[in-house]
């Protein structure tokens, strides 16, 4: 385990759950364990200078009272979305990226929560498969938590990977900024599991991505899981539009393609840093000296602060062209951008979310049209 914990709190009724037993068996000596009637109360912010940051070091094992599956919370009719389905197995993350949307999203329950009744998610997935047997789904666990952080403690992938490996129409996407892949290397994904890394240039990692693995370590981990039979994908999200970003992101892609051949990359995604004004305030309060939070961001039509349009779109084009020139087509898509932006970057309007989701699950190009209409 690479992340420190101040305490583990377990809901009384869940103390004999497989998850609780695994966590207690693997927990570092000296970490206090406490039992409570309702884990939701233990997940609330506690008084202190940084309740959100403190929450990250307090693991709460509790039963989830809501459905595990949901459409991606970033989805909206104003964006061209990727059909990503989210499986909520945990909430919050032991890493502490200064730009992270969780600073706003889980401000009211910032403890690192892991849901002990997660096998119920498997029933939900089976019901979803049966409701649309011809459809391909891409389901990820990395939206409200890093998929692999603490996996050495929770061992969730030991149940997840075999479950997905046995099903033909669902692809699991494990999204991470860590290199915690030890459990994955012991399992056979049978082509149904994809591991994706969020990648940022070294400068962004050093400035913003506190406690995350260095970019080179993430790429090296990707190479290892690829060789172990997993598919790999990369998210350049958020892209930070600082002075020198064009050069740094291009170099990052070159470094990636030096290690992993483009033909073996399932897809890449891009998304510029976008922050609601409330998120920016929260982030600035926690990281007042971080210059990356102070890009040339303006209020966009969706009410979020984003790098002004020509700058943001120029960065997308530079990255997309880098992949285009790589020698083998790497499918790409944009996160939380309008269809017109997709068209400017990739030369074609993206398909509807279900179709795009199915193609990404399958590893086919998200766009059909030739790229001569780009502007």
């Amino acid at each position: 385990m690479k992340f420190d914990l101040d305490a583990v709190i377990i809901e009384q009724d869940e103390r004999d759950s497989p998850l609780a037993r695994r966590v207690l068996a693997a927990l570092a000596p000296g970490v206090p364990v406490q039992y409570v009637a309702d884990g939701r109360e233990a997940a609330r912010p506690r008084p202190g200078a940084d309740p959100f940051g403190a929450g990250k070091r307090r693991m709460v094992l509790l039963r989830r009272r809501a459905p595990f599956l949901m459409g991606c919370p970033a989805g909206s009719a104003q964006f061209a979305c990727c059909g990503y389905q989210v499986m909520i197995l945990a909430s919050n993350c032991p890493m502490d990226c200064s730009y992270c949307f969780l600073q706003e999203f889980v401000a009211d329950n910032p403890a690192f929560q892991v849901y002990s009744n997660y096998s119920a998610a498997f029933d939900e997935i089976d019901r979803m498969i049966h409701s649309a047997p011809a459809r391909q789904f891409r389901i990820g666990t990395g939206e409200l938590a890093d998929s692999l952080a603490f996996d050495t403690l929770t061992g969730l992938t030991r149940d997840l990977v075999p479950f997905f490996a046995a099903r033909q129409t669902v692809t699991l996407e494990l999204k991470t900024k860590t290199d915690e892949i030890d459990h994955l290397l012991e399992l056979d994904p049978r082509g149904r599991v994809m591991v994706s890394w969020t990648l940022s240039p070294e400068r962004v990692w050093r400035t913003c991505e506190h406690r995350a693995a260095p970019p080179a370590a993430r790429i090296a981990a990707a190479r290892k899981v690829l060789e172990a039979g997993y598919r790999v994908a990369f998210h350049f999200d958020p892209i930070l539009a600082y002075d020198g970003a064009e050069r740094d992101y291009a170099a990052l892609i070159d470094n990636l393609l030096d290690v992993i051949a483009p033909a073996r990359i399932a897809f890449f995604s891009m998304g510029g840093l976008r922050m609601t004004p409330a998120l920016k305030s929260a982030a600035r309060r926690r990281f007042p000296a971080d210059p990356m939070l102070l890009g040339e961001d303006v209020l966009a039509r969706d009410g979020r602060l984003r790098a002004f349009t020509p700058l943001r779109l120029r960065l997308y084009r530079i990255l997309a062209e880098r992949f285009e020139r790589a020698g083998a087509p790497v499918p790409g898509y944009l996160c939380m951008e309008a269809p017109s932006v997709h068209e400017r970057v990739f030369g074609a309007t993206p398909p509807n979310p279900a179709t795009l989701g199915a193609r990404l699950a399958h590893g086919r190009s998200p766009v059909d049209a030739p790229k001569d209409s780009r502007q």
Partner: protein
């Protein structure tokens, strides 16, 4: 301890100005948290060009952000020639205050300012007649150009459409620039 007295006098003067302008406590705290020279330079400037409350708030926020971006103190930022000459140039205090905030924004958003100026020049080069205007999205916050036509008669409309058809390639080029072409 003359230095401590000077600092106390300076802070009293800042508090007095803040009280007179009903400056929010959070922004007064931000001002008082600056190093002594920065506090002093900003006080002098705020008085000289008679910044209003909203402008002091804006200026403190911009100065704070520029300081983090550029690793400079507010005094060093305020010493930039484009800011220093504002209080010395002719014009009314409100004009000077507006110019000061504009200049600070240009330092805070240098590439945005450059891109917007470049696009404005391209639009001006179209030499559109009265009644036709091309409006850039506010702060280049989207990739959508707005074309406005003012027409009273059918003939006005035909004339306007003919002008747009004539300038079509140049307008399309501006739309491409707005979408992040290499020219930005």
């Amino acid at each position: 301890m003359p230095n401590r007295d000077t600092a106390r006098n300076l802070d009293d003067a800042i508090r007095a100005l803040a009280a007179a302008r009903r400056l929010p406590e959070s922004h007064l705290a931000r001002w008082l948290a600056m190093d002594e020279q920065s506090r002093s330079v900003f006080l002098e400037l705020a008085g000289a060009i008679r910044l209003r409350t909203g402008q002091i708030v804006q200026a403190l926020e911009l100065l704070g952000e520029i300081a983090v971006r550029e690793g400079k103190t507010s005094a060093e930022i305020l010493a930039a020639p484009e800011l220093a000459r504002i209080s010395a140039r002719a014009g009314s205090a409100p004009e000077q205050a507006r110019a000061f905030i504009d200049a600070l924004r240009a330092i805070r958003f240098p590439r945005l300012r450059q891109a917007a100026e470049r696009l404005e020049r391209e639009i001006a080069a179209l030499r559109l007649p009265r009644g036709i205007s091309i409006v850039l999205p506010r702060e280049l916050g989207s990739d959508v150009l707005t074309i406005c036509l003012e027409v009273a008669r059918e003939a006005d409309l035909e004339r306007a459409l003919a002008v747009l058809a004539d300038r079509r390639a140049a307008i399309a080029r501006i739309a491409v620039m707005l979408g992040g072409s290499d020219e930005i």
